[in-house]
């Protein structure tokens, strides 16, 4: 990783079908900051995040990223037939992260899935599946996080766990772009409101 992570969007615009979701959205994020993306349902938060991650093409504007990033969207990318550790290993291996087994076990313990370790993900609840995603955040060294509604289906303990992870990430010089309706504990450096 060369230098500090940086994430910048300049004059982004996006239309879906006939409707203009947003136009002229700009933001800058540097190491140690996180930005909360706010907006009503359907205002284009998800689309903005997908644009920034490079999954969706934006109508106009540019995105500048320096540093590895992980994107976690509405779909948790958890395979039903693999257990928590296998899912985690698979997600990390895909990004070329070589996490040793003890680290994976520790992360699973930390997110409270120790007793569910051997179950295939189809037998986990929605919140428990989300927690696998939290374990991934704990293990992946990517300095840039792009997270879409990370608190969906999580209980209070899950929420404070996420806040803890976000806090540690930002303190360690990472940055995060998070679409959320909640007021999270590490106060965001800035807020980005999109939609009318």
């Amino acid at each position: 990783m060369a230098g500090a992570p940086h994430l910048e969007g300049r004059a982004l615009a996006c239309t879906r079908g006939m409707a203009t979701l947003f136009r002229d959205v700009s933001f800058v994020l540097d190491a140690g900051e996180w930005l909360a993306v706010r907006g009503a349902n359907g205002s284009g938060k998800t689309t903005l995040l997908r644009c920034v991650a490079g999954l969706t093409r934006s109508e106009a504007g540019t995105v500048e990223r320096s540093g590895d990033f992980i994107y976690a969207g509405h779909l948790a990318a958890i395979n039903d037939d693999l257990d928590a550790a296998e899912n985690l290993k698979s997600l990390l291996a895909l990004r070329g992260v070589d996490a040793p087994a003890p680290a994976i076990d520790a992360a699973i313990d930390r997110v409270g899935l120790a007793k569910r370790r051997m179950l295939p993900a189809r037998r986990l609840s929605a919140g428990q599946r989300r927690r696998i995603g939290l374990a991934r955040l704990a293990l992946d060294p990517a300095p840039i996080w792009i997270l879409d509604e990370p608190l969906t289906a999580l209980d209070d303990a899950g929420r404070s766990l996420f806040e803890e992870l976000l806090h540690a990430h930002v303190r360690a010089g990472g940055l995060a772009l998070v679409a959320t309706h909640h007021d999270l504990a590490p106060v965001p450096a800035r807020e980005l409101r999109i939609g009318a």
């Binding site: 999954l55 037939d81 070589d98 520790a106």
Partner: protein, 238 residues
């Protein structure tokens, strides 16, 4: 609480063709191994349908030997088609496909890994089983060998073309039917040269031209299809 942070720092590496291919190949084979039912279903369908024809058309040895290779090819083609709809759809539905697109590995690499895994779990068993089914049609040894060889070259083409169609129909409603309409016509050349090879061998003409054409088709498809699929997946996710 902080055990995770201290438990040996994970290392992120940059992407590579080999790592991307290996990742998806191992993952898909693991999943296929977890659920052998799907492979068993494909093979059972293949064996069953191929065994129904002799019962249907009567036990005339000459007729059976004449139509055998063609029927086995059609059955292999339909059986290979059975497992195609789920090839990308599962990963698409659970969000894994997004993560794969965002991974540092080149897209054609992991796409190729998925296709090879699909072939190992469907095309390869069909090929291995074909001499056994050929015996039901009273095919001679030379024809059986040619049939198996033609399937060995042809079934990977089916996996490649089928995967391309599967990627094109991602997110479409009624994707399964659409996939059939899209993929089956594309399989026609493979069927013609594949069944033609065994026919030529049976009539003593030599199957080399047919097999060469199948081989050429395989090389062409293997070079072009992973790139086409990468483009199709990008469109589906956009």
């Amino acid at each position: 609480m902080n055990a995770v942070a201290n438990a040996a720092p994970p290392i992120a590496s940059s992407g590579s063709v080999g790592a991307g291919f290996g990742w998806s190949f191992v993952r898909d084979l693991t999943l296929a191994w977890r659920h052998p039912g799907e492979t068993v279903l494909v093979v059972a369908f293949y064996a069953l349908v191929a065994s129904l024809f002799p019962l249907g058309v009567g036990a005339e040895p000459q007729l059976l030997a004449r139509i055998g290779p063609g029927i086995i090819w059609v059955c292999a083609l339909l059986a290979a088609f059975l497992s195609l709809p789920a090839l990308f759809a599962t990963d698409y539905a659970d969000g894994m496909l997004e993560q794969m697109v965002l991974s540092p590995h080149p897209m054609p690499a992991w796409v190729a890994g998925k296709i090879v895994a699909h072939w190992v779990a469907s095309g390869l068993p069909l090929t291995v089983l074909s001499p056994l089914l050929g015996l039901q049609y009273g095919l001679d040894t030379a024809t059986l060998g040619t049939l198996a060889l033609a399937l060995l070259l042809g079934t990977p083409i089916l996996s490649l073309l089928g995967a391309a169609c599967s990627a094109l129909t991602l997110g479409a409603r009624g994707g399964g039917m659409l996939l059939a309409l899209l993929a089956l016509p594309l399989f026609v050349p493979v069927l013609i040269f594949g069944a033609g090879a065994a026919d030529a061998a049976a009539s003593g003409l030599g199957a080399a031209p047919h097999l060469s054409l199948l081989g050429a088709g395989l090389i062409l498809a293997a070079m072009a299809v992973p790139f086409a699929i990468a483009a199709a997946i990008r469109i589906a996710l956009d």
